[in-house]
């Protein structure tokens, strides 16, 4: 009951929204930077054999390093500033985004690319109208998985390396042994994540794949 009261207080006095916004901003900026580079590297790896040979070991290596390690390394390297969470999120989710986009590029429909060549599509038209739409399912799968990891990483960085954000607040509650505070922050954070997943990501995916008829596997 005390935990519930604490959660209601956090939401009603605006504390939750302020710190949640800080955490969201860090995840968002890190994810956008990672996405930007991973789309380029993924397409390069999927289309140029030399790119695949060069980046494949690096990507595999990146996948083996736990995100929490990156969080600690970022704080130790860059100290208490905004760059640490951006860096930690970017390097944590970058390899899994690349690997998904790389796999997506390898399974691109060659017939559609040939069609775009025949009809004199420009390079930009080929990328924006033919290649990227085929990668949408891969990008969404990678984003879901990547965001799950990014939240964890940001919370850890905030615990050690920032003066605001959900992680900082959890750490503050922990230091004064305020169990209600820790659980209240955890619950509100999880609810916010569910809203983002179902409200935002699912909505965007539905909009972007409206062209696909619904798959009905089990019919009565």
């Amino acid at each position: 009951m005390n935990t519930l009261h604490e959660a209601v207080r956090l939401v009603s006095d605006g504390t939750f929204f302020f710190h949640m916004f800080q955490s969201l901003r860090r995840v968002f900026v890190g994810a956008v930077i990672a996405m930007f580079f991973s789309i380029g590297v993924g397409i390069y790896m999927g289309t140029v054999a030399m790119g695949e040979r060069f980046f494949q070991p690096l990507v595999v290596l990146g996948l083996t390093i736990p995100g929490l390690m990156w969080a600690l390394i970022a704080v130790m390297l860059f100290g208490i500033n905004e760059f640490s969470p951006y860096f930690a999120v970017t390097v944590t989710i970058f390899p899994m985004l690349v690997i998904n986009i790389w796999a997506g590029v390898k399974s691109l429909d060659k017939e559609l690319i040939d069609m775009s060549h025949v009809f004199h599509f420009t390079k930009w038209m080929k990328i924006s109208q033919v290649i990227l739409p085929q990668l949408v399912p891969n990008i969404f799968a990678a984003t879901r998985y990547g965001l799950g990891l990014a939240w964890k990483v940001v919370v850890v960085v905030e615990m050690f390396g920032t003066s605001n954000g959900v992680g900082y607040q959890v750490m503050k509650s922990y230091q004064v042994f305020n169990m209600e505070g820790v659980i209240a922050w955890t619950i509100t954070f999880v609810i916010a994540m569910i809203v983002i997943e179902y409200g935002l990501i699912n909505f965007a995916e539905r909009r972007l794949t409206a062209w696909r008829p619904r798959v009905e596997v089990w019919r009565r």
């Binding site: 017939e111 040939d114 060549h117 009809f119 004199h120 038209m125 109208q129 739409p133």
Partner: protein
């Protein structure tokens, strides 16, 4: 208007074990201006490879393809292509699919809507302009592919077994539509098939090819007057064609 010359075309591929094999051998023929030239030959004899060479998806190892547009030779002219499968972008509506081809062909944006409407109207699909391709039947999608190839208003249109993947009744309707449009629009068309009756109906000229490697077997003008009507005359001409084809394997009579 345009015409197309294939001169001494030769193409080699490599097997998995690295050994080369010839798929097209010193092939020469002419696709005349405003006419439908049908290429007929056994499956795998190199018909599609030749068409792919015409649009730059493959390169010939020897020989040349000469495009003559309004009396002048052109290096890589705009060519409409109707593929065996329609190859529409499933995330774009029918209208957007055609508009993208128009954009690629540098058609001014203000003309897109009228062109899309006009050509969808010609193939009888104007009410589907805002539909996504996956909601259309196979025959309808193929008609959209035909509308897209015609909408860019290129002088040359290639058709690679466009009706091979639809049922015979739909194929018959599509042949009639296509033949009618070819007669109306006077485009230079190269039409690939391995169906003799289709060749007899669609072609003003029929080029028969040998089994791999593809060589010129016969160049036969269609004796039937335009417009062509599907009936006994077509089958008679198809039988004549069959007699001219040296290697009959894999050719549908």
């Amino acid at each position: 208007m345009a015409e197309l010359w294939v001169k001494d075309a030769e193409k080699w591929f490599r097997r998995e074990d690295g050994r080369p094999f010839k798929i097209i051998d010193r092939l020469s023929f002419e696709a005349r201006e405003g006419c439908v030239t049908v290429l007929i030959g056994p499956s795998g004899c190199g018909k599609s490879t030749l068409l792919n060479s015409m649009v730059g998806l493959e390169n010939l190892d020897r020989g040349e393809l000469i495009f003559i547009s309004r009396g002048k030779p052109e290096k890589r002219p705009l060519i409409g292509y109707v593929f065996q499968s329609p190859r529409l972008l499933p995330w774009k509506t029918i209208g957007e699919n055609i508009s993208l081809a128009l954009q690629g062909a540098d058609v001014p944006r203000r003309q897109w809507e009228s062109r899309v409407t006009h050509y969808l109207n010609l193939v009888g699909l104007e009410e589907y302009v805002n539909q996504f391709p996956l909601y259309l039947s196979g025959g309808q999608r193929q008609r959209v592919g035909l509308a897209r190839a015609l909408a860019i208003e290129s002088d040359i249109v290639l058709m690679d077994e466009p009706f091979a993947s639809v049922d015979e009744l739909t194929a018959r309707q599509l042949r009639q539509t296509t033949r009618r449009l070819c007669e109306q629009l006077h485009r230079t068309v190269v039409f690939v098939t391995h169906n003799l009756a289709e060749a007899a109906y669609m072609g003003d000229y029929v080029v028969t090819l040998t089994q791999r490697p593809a060589r010129l077997d016969a160049y036969v003008p269609n004796p039937l007057p335009s417009p062509h009507h599907w009936g006994a005359d077509i089958y008679k001409f198809a039988a004549e064609l069959e007699n001219k084809v040296t290697l009959k394997e894999d050719i549908e009579s």
